[in-house]
């Protein structure tokens, strides 16, 4: 436990150093023409994530430090009574609930720190592979900002049964359910972008669509858990395990996989194997749903989480088969990841050589040479003339117009006001 705390303190150091750097870079080092509303949604997502981290990680830092003090130096921030040799010390006033408040004040923003970058990657990939502009670019930015703000005022939904004042609980129910609005906006925008698109399939977009699927199916159980009257029944059961693995764990992992498949050529100058990518996707989505979907039902049946075995209770004898089934899917899923690992390391050295812009993408990273150079572009940094989502624009020669192409060269497709 002490090592766990030391590790977290180091980790927070890393997250803060990284986060400050990301924000400063985005604010100060944009190239000519790259206004904030011409930034790809990935960059917006990373920036908002970094801000969330900068604001919330220090709170976990404090919580971890105080806990270290309590455990190692005899303070009592989280302990109300300390007994030494049977006699209570004179300290008073510490509270274990305080740790929960501090922890979840980070804890909830943390789920968006995990999710937002994945959503950003998905926006970019879905738009590129659908060959359509992202639906509702500004709404996407706005909903991310609203989610980021709300994520700081909902932490109490993890604490409905700690003895917190029930009135306070209902305030947290309200703020929590508000999060459904920007989340629904995002889902709607993804679906509208995919709607009637001529999707160019690749492992990346399959994983991105998988993310959207998890965001929906896991988000729906979030509405149940966010409602204190319902949550009290399923708190600390497998229902919760199912919810957070689908909406946070699997969504974000799928976003990460999507990102890896999509930007692998940018990172390593080679392509990953497509067939193995598809195989990896189908086995993984099957085993994720196979593992976590049944957990909803055993959770509703009352099976608590964090128990080593549930064999002591007559009433749970019926779930044993379900648990075995879940484990079979979990092990299948684990094997599926080995396909990915093999594909990843093999392609790093032996993959097909990548061309400069393999996905016919608009964003700037694909204008840099395949071979990495310090400073990214060997000559001048390119200038930006348009937003990043001019895919399938009516009247254009090609189905994509990179950000570096000025409007003066695309007279046939310019909209009103674009010169």
């Amino acid at each position: 436990m002490t090592l766990w705390l030391v590790s977290m303190v180091l980790f927070i150091g890393s997250a803060l150093l990284g986060g400050i750097n990301y924000v400063v870079t985005v604010l100060n080092l944009r190239t000519k023409g790259m206004s904030m509303t011409r930034l790809p949604l990935t960059v917006w997502a990373f920036t908002i994530t970094a801000i969330l981290g900068i604001l919330s990680f220090p709170v976990l830092f404090a919580a971890a430090l105080l806990l270290l003090f309590d455990r190692s130096f005899g303070t009592s921030f989280y302990l109300s009574d300390i007994y030494i040799n049977g006699a209570p010390l004179h300290y008073s006033g510490g509270s274990p609930i305080l740790f929960q408040h501090l922890f979840w004040f980070l804890g909830h923003p943390e789920v968006y720190i995990v999710l937002l970058p994945a959503l950003g990657l998905a926006s970019e990939i879905i738009s590129t592979q659908s060959r359509k502009p992202i639906f509702g670019y500004k709404a996407m930015i706005g909903s991310m900002l609203v989610i980021a703000f709300l994520s700081f005022v909902v932490w109490g939904h993890h604490m409905f049964i700690t003895g917190m004042n029930p009135f306070l609980g209902s305030v947290f129910v309200f703020t929590t359910l508000l999060v459904a609005i920007p989340s629904a906006v995002k889902v709607f925008n993804y679906l509208a972008t995919l709607w009637k698109a001529n999707i160019v399939y690749s492992p990346a977009i399959l994983f991105a669509i998988g993310l959207v699927s998890f965001f929906i199916s896991g988000g729906l159980t979030g509405i149940i858990l966010g409602d204190s009257a319902l949550d009290i029944n399923v708190h600390d059961t497998y229902f919760v395990v199912a919810h957070f693995h689908i909406v946070m764990g699997s969504s974000a992992i799928f976003g990460m996989f999507a990102g890896i498949y999509h930007w692998f050529p940018r990172m390593f100058g080679r392509m990953m194997n497509r067939k193995l990518g598809y195989l990896h996707f189908w086995l993984t989505i099957l085993s994720v749903y196979g593992t976590f979907f049944p957990m909803h039902f055993i959770g509703l049946a009352g099976v608590p989480r964090r128990y080593y075995a549930n064999t002591a209770y007559e009433g749970f004898s019926g779930i044993i088969n379900i648990n075995s089934l879940i484990s079979v899917f979990a092990i299948l899923g684990a094997f599926a990841q080995l396909i990915f690992v093999i594909n990843f390391f093999y392609s790093m050295y032996r993959g097909k050589k990548a061309v400069q812009n393999p996905w016919k993408s608009n964003t700037l990273e694909w204008t840099a040479p395949v071979e990495h150079v310090h400073g990214n572009w060997p000559g001048e940094i390119p200038t930006v003339y348009r937003w990043p989502y001019d895919y399938g624009k009516p009247g254009a020669e090609d189905d994509f117009i990179p950000q570096t192409v000025p409007y003066s060269q695309t007279k046939s497709s310019n909209l009103e006001g674009e010169e």
Partner: protein, 181 residues
């Protein structure tokens, strides 16, 4: 610059045209280049993810077949899986460390570390991060915390190894392992 591939074959790493003399250390370890740092984050995260996934397989074996013994466990985790049964205390340690690694090390450090690093400078049109040095430090703090977390798993094992065998035959042997810490 058009899309070209010069004759630097054999490695996946392209050499920088301007600086040909980069040693292993300055290229892979003390790199301040955001593209290299992003690869460092990604590879570290993949290793941590495999570790956490392995943990989940171990406790899923326990949850799926609570009455069954898996002698193979002893091969992987030694005294944690004495006689093919997962130790109950260690179950808790595993679940906690599994969750911590997945949430913080894979999906926070790994995800943001990889893609913010790779894409922010390239997509906004910057030559690198605002501070390459802080960026390198960020990776090194991350690496250190990964190591300490892995050690925490190992330490849980030694302590539990000790508790479990007190009063059993292997006492002396186990004690000597536990004392090393």
């Amino acid at each position: 610059m058009s899309d070209h591939t010069h004759g630097h074959t054999g490695t996946h790493e392209a050499h920088d045209h301007h600086e040909h003399h980069q040693s292993f250390w300055s290229k892979y370890v003390f790199s301040t280049d955001h593209k290299m740092i992003s690869k460092q984050f990604l590879v570290t995260a993949i290793v941590m993810a495999l570790l956490a996934m392995f943990m989940s397989v171990i406790f899923r074996l326990q949850l799926g077949w609570p009455d069954h013994k898996f002698p193979i466990l002893e091969k992987f985790i030694g005294s944690w899986g004495k006689g093919g049964k997962l130790d109950p205390n260690f179950y808790l340690a595993l679940v906690t460390i599994h969750g911590t690694i997945m949430v913080f090390f894979v999906l926070t450090g790994g995800l943001s570390g990889t893609f913010s690093n790779l894409l922010i400078p390239l997509q906004v049109g910057a030559r690198d991060m605002a501070s390459g040095f802080l960026n390198m430090l960020s990776y090194w703090f991350f690496f250190a915390s990964c190591m300490v977390m892995t050690a925490a798993a190992g330490y849980a094992r030694l302590r539990i190894g000790n508790d479990v065998v007190v009063g059993e035959h292997g006492l002396v042997h186990r004690f000597s392992i536990a004392r090393r810490n």
